[in-house]
Symmetry: D2
Subunit: 283 residues, 4 copies
């Protein structure tokens, strides 16, 4: 017969904005919170008996209520608070996963803000009633180097037509996630890790995007001792040099066509040697 | 020091359209192909030495060339062909993952077609030089039942405000993936699995979306002996009954607000008992 | 000094789903309704005095209440009902624009439905207290011909590199809107106009997408005497023949790369001679 | 019979990136260029005769070639250059419309950049062989005030349920376009107009979004004498105060739900008195 395998359920993308007012100076936190719970869920799947189910509507309510009761500091702390609450307060819930996207705003006055449109800060927290795992990260950080990138010496088979190049534009949209060994000063850690990614991308003389990826991951581990593992997904956003010779023009790295699809996709992991096991951190 | 962990690289989203002409009757296959390779990739990450790298541009070329040389039948077969080619022809490549999305077209004449806009058919194939794993699936299959859905008897804690209901609209956008035991008649298997999902959704008197999920997965396993595991992600696309009482109107399941966010998200797996191990199938 | 120019305000994208139950057979209408009102709005702009403003929240409520009170038949009729209500009931509102997108569902049982994913049906209605204007249409109707399309004889200047072709794939995503002379059987008119577009695209031996556009518009006017003007926006979704010669393969219209950007964009209008003036119909 | 009405054709969304190198300091301009031409196009529509057609592929080539030959300064200048070229060099082309979106990058080093993710700068230029019209603008500038916004005193009819409020969050995503009287220092004008929009949003004590809109438009006209007309589309991105009373919590402007749909949409125009006619500027 059939068996129920891994499962979880929750409320995805609760968009909560928390305003804090210190006199005339207001502050905002703008989050997209997704909660997912697991536990004694055989009955609800097999017979529709909801006795073990904390409704997803309740999970949403809890996000809003906790935003009021506890305020929102670092997204990681808010996620941990929620994860612990669900597991510790509900006997049928044994594991919680809370994922948060955070959008940044620039101050334009005491109570006026403009979305900065930079990359989105992310975190995913797991809690199983005893231990917790925290992964922080960012996505949609779009970077481009106009030079210091080569690509040559690759395999040539019967389907290879690509020319070798000693100078190309290298562009990507970084999705990065990094696993913490324990509890950190999340905001400070984030700023350091972000800066490490940006700096490594800018400073690496690149012979391949894989090399750049490894340099970025290593730099995060070097600069952030609290981090034990970095995962990166780097699309190679191709900028093709346009052939202007039909128009009697040369093109010495000046005019590029920014292509959409297909794109290269380089994915990789850099770990601190002897890093503790990841458990469910990446699930 | 630092260690290179799991990694892969490839060309994502190569959009290939293959036309086959039998006299006046033309046929089209419209695919979005993503290839990803792994193998002896330490050097390229650590030093930028590309001697082991089959360029992503070459992978793209191979997709187009194979579309011509071998034609395109079932997406699974085309994916297997590509995966085996990369691993078997390149000594440095030890594993390949090929993912394909397929878009459907309705015939409007001998050589005229209209995109049917139905769900997207998907597959992911892995090959390691000896074995292959095939997962088929679909996404964006949007379903709605106007009745035969209840939700009650769930946990009530201090943050619970949701009313119990004995009649509600149940709507979802199905993402389903299913793992095959071996080689199948992929097209026939797909049609049976798809029909099983649709029928189970329509026929299940639902006490929770989890119950519906399990019923859908079980139906696929029942109707398709070649399939050993089904994974489903079902967003609960909330249709809220609008309170019309301020206008002196009742609303007996007639007028709904289709909400965007947040949404419930129910994820689960149904396995055939004694199913063989999944290996890298879901990676 | 400064002058307030054209303005309007309203509630955009109210997602209303209307269920009608005839015994065991249920029916659904799934709409996205946007209302916009104009009138005596100088004060609200100049001083924030809202005395003339029917709140956008009220407009949304009216959509839901009317869905209950009047049911929903053709989207055009529902739009007219709303437009007339706002203008006729509010002395400060002089003009209304109601735009509706309608999503189609296929029946899968007495009360079970699957989104058909076809193109979206659209309409825009204007009412000024005396007259009304109705524009119907569709968007995202994706069509492709595998042959019967040429492109040659075009201007060649110093920046022209394109080769002439006597056989190419022609693909587009139709956005079409058509203006009615008066009141029609909207559903019947829609089906005829849609069929005219599809048939003209399939049947036209095309020497340019402009020619196809004109043929499509003309066919609508020919088949639908109730329609006086057709506007079409046809992106030329380029399908480039892949050069397979480096691999020793020919490519006689068999393997294409479906490109994203840039794309051609052909926009044009076909009118019935002596068509009445459009008034605000296209605003 | 039928008549060909207004029409135009061109190449949309040519993504050109122009790199300029001054020693070690590189600069980039990142544009999305759409060209559209009109003229003696009866034949191509009626019979497919392309003798008057400058192919859209040629238009794309011209964008790339001009990026090399002339460099890219302000987007408006590049658009004017292209528009004039097409009309002045082709006897069959009588009018050109060139629209450009520009994406901003922050410098991270001599040749390293990060997309700033701020709003997109836009322009639309028309040229008819004699005169030109320039509209500049921006889109996706997301702003939020945490206070100094009220909404009360609006019409109450039988479908009105909204409570009056003396303090709410006001948020919007600005789409603004402004028409120039003649030639400007486009970059300087843009910075002034952008700053005027931001400042007016932050400084206006708002009794309605319409009032804020008018204040924003007026501020642009006040600060930028070179601009004669401003058009604004301001979605009211509702931030609903969450009712926390079921949990025994008050909510004094602290916790909000950021809703997606429906949203208010306020559109309006502010003109300088005696502004010259707009001609085709807004088409």
């Amino acid at each position: 017969m059939f068996v129920l395998g891994p499962n979880r359920y929750g409320k995805a993308e609760t968009r909560v904005v928390r305003v804090t007012k210190h006199g005339d100076a207001h502050h905002i936190k703008d989050l997209n919170v997704s909660t997912a719970l697991s536990g004694d869920m055989a009955d609800v799947h097999l017979s529709g008996d909801n006795a073990a189910v904390l409704a997803t509507d309740t999970q949403k309510n809890t996000v809003f209520a906790f935003a009021k009761k506890h305020g929102i500091g670092a997204a990681e702390d808010f996620a941990l608070l929620l994860a612990r609450h669900f597991v510790d307060s509900q006997p049928t819930i044994h594991r919680a996963r809370v994922a948060i996207d955070e959008y940044g705003w620039d101050r334009r006055g005491g109570h006026s803000f403009a979305r900065n449109g930079r990359e989105t800060r992310t975190c995913v927290v797991h809690y199983d009633g005893e231990r917790s795992w925290v992964v922080s990260g960012l996505k949609d950080l779009v970077l481009l180097n106009t030079t210091d990138s080569e690509f040559w010496g690759f395999v040539r088979d019967e389907y290879t037509t690509l020319n070798e190049t000693r100078d190309r534009v290298l562009a990507t949209a970084v999705t990065a996630t990094w696993r913490h060994a324990g509890v950190s000063d999340w905001d400070k850690s984030y700023e350091k890790a972000r800066e490490a990614l940006l700096t490594a991308f800018a400073d690496t003389y690149s012979l391949s995007l894989q090399q750049t990826l490894y340099a970025m991951g290593s730099r995060v581990l070097t600069d952030c001792p609290e981090i034990v593992e970095v995962r990166l997904a780097l699309p190679n956003k191709h900028h093709f040099l346009v052939d202007l010779s039909p128009f009697g023009l040369d093109n010495d790295g000046e005019v590029f066509f920014a292509a959409d699809r297909p794109y290269g996709l380089i994915e990789g992991t850099v770990l601190r040697e002897g890093a503790p096991g990841a458990g469910p951190a990446w699930e």
